[in-house]
């Protein structure tokens, strides 16, 4: 099966990515397909699933496949405290991970923080070129014991009405 994959990869046409090869426009960018095309994909079978994998930037694959996946052992559970670094203002934003919206290339997560006594939530799209990297400050508990029990919800919107629970999470960060 590995040999068949190598054969298919070598059959992908090799083209120069200079725009001079494309005579109808000068401002376009040319690129190669990430995975070789199959007959099933040309018929449309599994095409959207294929696109949801290939439209994700290779640098963001780790975020989509590991950090914000459903079942990966190293995924970030809701309740974790993260810092997101962006290219535009605010250049960094820290907060509690209260929601993960898993939609393949449109995967996003929401961080909540109290900034100058005001609750602020920001939604970051994983595949956006604006999001540079995500740093984990504190992972939420996985099981019982010293780490604490895991959050029993996927979406922690109840934190909007409980400032004391937000304080408890932030106390755990410093402690």
């Amino acid at each position: 099966m590995f040999r068949a994959l190598c054969r298919r990869l070598s059959a992908v046409r090799k083209y120069s990515t200079t725009t001079a090869e494309y005579p109808f426009s000068k401002s376009v960018t040319a690129s190669q397909p990430v995975l070789p095309p199959t007959d099933a994909l040309r018929k449309g079978k599994g095409l959207m699933q294929h696109l949801s994998k290939t439209l994700v930037d290779p640098e963001k694959r780790h975020m989509v496949d590991v950090l914000f996946s459903r079942r990966h052992p190293e995924r970030l559970p809701p309740g974790s405290v993260l810092t997101a670094y962006t290219g535009q203002a605010p250049f960094q934003f820290s907060g509690v991970l209260i929601a993960i919206r898993r939609r393949g290339p449109s995967t996003s997560f929401t961080l909540r923080n109290i900034v100058q006594r005001m609750g602020v939530e920001m939604q970051f799209f994983v595949n956006s070129p604006d999001l540079k990297r995500v740093e984990v400050i504190q992972r939420a508990g996985g099981g019982g014991g010293r780490q604490g029990r895991r959050m029993r919800r996927a979406k922690l919107f109840y934190l909007r009405d409980s400032p004391e629970k937000m304080t408890a999470i932030s106390a755990g960060v410093r402690g």
Binding site: F24, L41, M48, P129
Partner: protein, 321 residues
């Protein structure tokens, strides 16, 4: 193929190119006099030309990001063995001509195709198709019968019209079908919250005007989404990514053609005004594959071609005062 248009771009206004879609004058001497079909000399795109369209299948929607970091929705259209099945030429009583390219898509088992259609497809030497549609063109834009059209037919940065049967909504009331506001929810209104209300005057006219907007079947009719920008073309899988939404359900057949407003009327107006040749076609588009983008052409060009956003400034950059 591009040589004629490039010489025109270099020269000044060429009035000899004035040619109407349904003209009776025999300006185009290269078109065959007796039968429709592509001429032997290679034709080049002109601002008066109208190319064929293609039939694609709507596969779904996803999102992409442009070079500024702004997110935009895209619809994925896939060409499913789209081939030319006939070239149509009809001469009307007033000697004007109608030219069209007939295109078929999606291979169909021969045993489910009627004998009449099987004969039609065997004459064109193509596989039987599920859908066959016609695209009106100018006389110079005929494509040889049997040609397989490819996603390379569209240039990233150009605009297209996408035509399909919209999703059927069934029998719907006035509020959903026509956007009526209904009546109050409370304050004494009895048993009528989503009704039409009044339907006309009194004794004069004493009837309801024909065509009065009322409840009825909504959706399931031919709808055109106009002026959608093509952002990416993938010839490895024959995909065309258009920005925005497209009518129809997933896997429905859609007709895709150059936008009538932004690729025909505006281009013709720019040309007849004598604009700079670089500013006739939409920004970023230098030329169009003519008469059509074929599978053979796609093999000579890069597999995935993406157009940048036409915005010059970033939407996130603060406005300079």
């Amino acid at each position: 193929m591009l040589s004629f248009w490039t010489t025109v771009r270099q020269s000044s206004k060429a009035s000899a190119l004035r040619r109407c879609l349904h003209s009776s004058s025999a300006v185009n001497a290269t078109a065959a006099a007796t039968e429709a079909g592509p001429s032997t000399t290679p034709q080049s795109w002109t601002p008066q030309s109208v190319r064929t369209g293609v039939i694609a299948r709507k596969r779904g929607m996803t999102a992409m990001w442009d070079q500024h970091g702004a997110k935009f929705p895209v619809t994925v259209l896939q060409l499913d063995n789209c081939q030319v099945t006939a070239n149509v030429k009809t001469v009307r009583k007033d000697n004007s001509e109608y030219h069209a390219v007939q295109v078929g898509a999606s291979d169909r088992p021969d045993r489910t195709t009627t004998k009449a259609m099987r004969g039609h497809f065997s004459k064109a030497e193509v596989h039987s198709k599920y859908i066959v549609k016609e695209f009106p063109i100018t006389a110079d834009a005929h494509v040889p019968v049997g040609t397989t059209l490819s996603a390379i037919h569209f240039v990233p940065g150009q605009y297209v019209d996408v035509i399909a049967k919209s999703i059927g909504k069934g029998f719907q009331g006035g509020m959903k079908r026509w956007g009526f506001r209904g009546l109050r929810a409370s304050h004494g209104v009895s048993v009528s919250h989503r009704k039409l209300g009044a339907t006309g005057g009194h004794q004069d006219p004493g009837r309801v005007w024909p065509g009065k907007k009322m409840a009825g079947r909504m959706g399931g009719d031919r709808t055109t989404a106009q002026n959608l920008e093509v952002v990416r073309v993938d010839t490895a899988l024959d995909l065309v990514f258009v920005k925005g939404c497209v009518p129809g359900v997933d896997d429905a057949h859609v007709m895709v053609r150059d936008a009538k407003k932004r690729m025909r009327e505006i281009v013709r107006a720019n040309f007849s005004k004598g604009n700079d040749p670089d500013r006739i076609l939409p920004k970023g588009v230098d030329a169009l594959p003519f008469p059509a983008g074929t599978k053979e052409m796609a093999e000579t060009l890069p597999p995935i071609i993406t157009a940048p956003s036409k915005r010059v400034t970033s939407p996130f950059a603060p406005a300079s005062n």
